[in-house]
Symmetry: C2
Subunit: 162 residues, 2 copies
């Protein structure tokens, strides 16, 4: 018998299909256009990306070749993240680079796909490709999965409020 | 019998040790400190990087985490290039990312090593790591090798003038 957990967000499904990739899947209870907006409108991104921490969005040029840079202000300190958009295809696909200031020059390619499930829900898939297995494993062991689930829970709340 | 080519710059040695790498070696007739300076001082870089084309150095923060961005003005058009420094260890090693505006979000990691040959010459090794074999092969077939040899010939002239 399973216990229903009405107030707990679902966990993302995290797998490692190859030795340089992380594959993440998560279903959101909102139509694709709304999820797209929450992921590409800076004012909305600032409400969930930082999992409750303040995010300063210094750049967010959501188009091919555009740059993004977010600075997270957490109790543990200030962390900058940045990258560039390789592909932006509304409302279904973004390919972008991701780099954390703490490891400059270590660049991840993120392929984010939004799939309309046809019942008002949207499946978001994020496939990250690293240059090396060591960088991939470093990300896996960084507490990424916990942070990701917190971000996605915050995104659930933003989607419900839109 | 070989024919000496007194007025021709030596060609760089270009190999592909793995399916995601390009390995480049070239010996320069100058001491390592001088080669280091020619490769890290923006005023000197502007004299050789563009192979005779005008280069505008918009950013060149030669330190860990610093960014660089060069814009080349050629008869064929304007091309932007940019990246970020992962490691800067004078006078022997720079690790940096490299990205061309024409293919935004396709990021190469360049490991540049300067080896003092002990006779007043310096061997420069540049190992580029790509996310995929397709991106590596795209670079190989882009005319990279010709452009590289032109840049290095221009660097020979800068080194001789310093």
């Amino acid at each position: 018998m399973t216990t229903p957990m009405m107030h707990t967000s679902p966990k993302a499904r995290v797998t490692t299909p190859t030795d340089r990739e992380i594959h993440i899947e998560r279903i959101f209870a909102a139509p694709r256009e709304r999820v797209w907006r929450a992921m590409t409108d800076p004012a909305l991104v600032a409400q969930w990306w930082g999992r409750g921490n303040k995010i300063v969005i210094e750049r967010m040029e959501v188009e091919r070749g555009g740059h993004w840079r977010f600075v997270e202000h957490s109790p543990e300190g200030v962390h900058g993240f940045e990258g560039r958009y390789r592909e932006v295809t509304p409302p279904e696909r973004v390919v972008q680079t991701f780099e954390w200031d703490g490891m400059p020059g270590h660049v991840v390619i993120e392929h984010v796909t939004l799939e309309d499930l046809g019942d008002g829900r949207t499946k978001v898939t994020n496939v990250s490709l690293f240059h090396t297995t060591e960088e991939r494993d470093g990300m896996l062991h960084s507490g990424m999965e916990g942070g990701l689930n917190e971000s996605y829970a915050a995104l659930d709340r933003v989607l419900a409020s839109m």
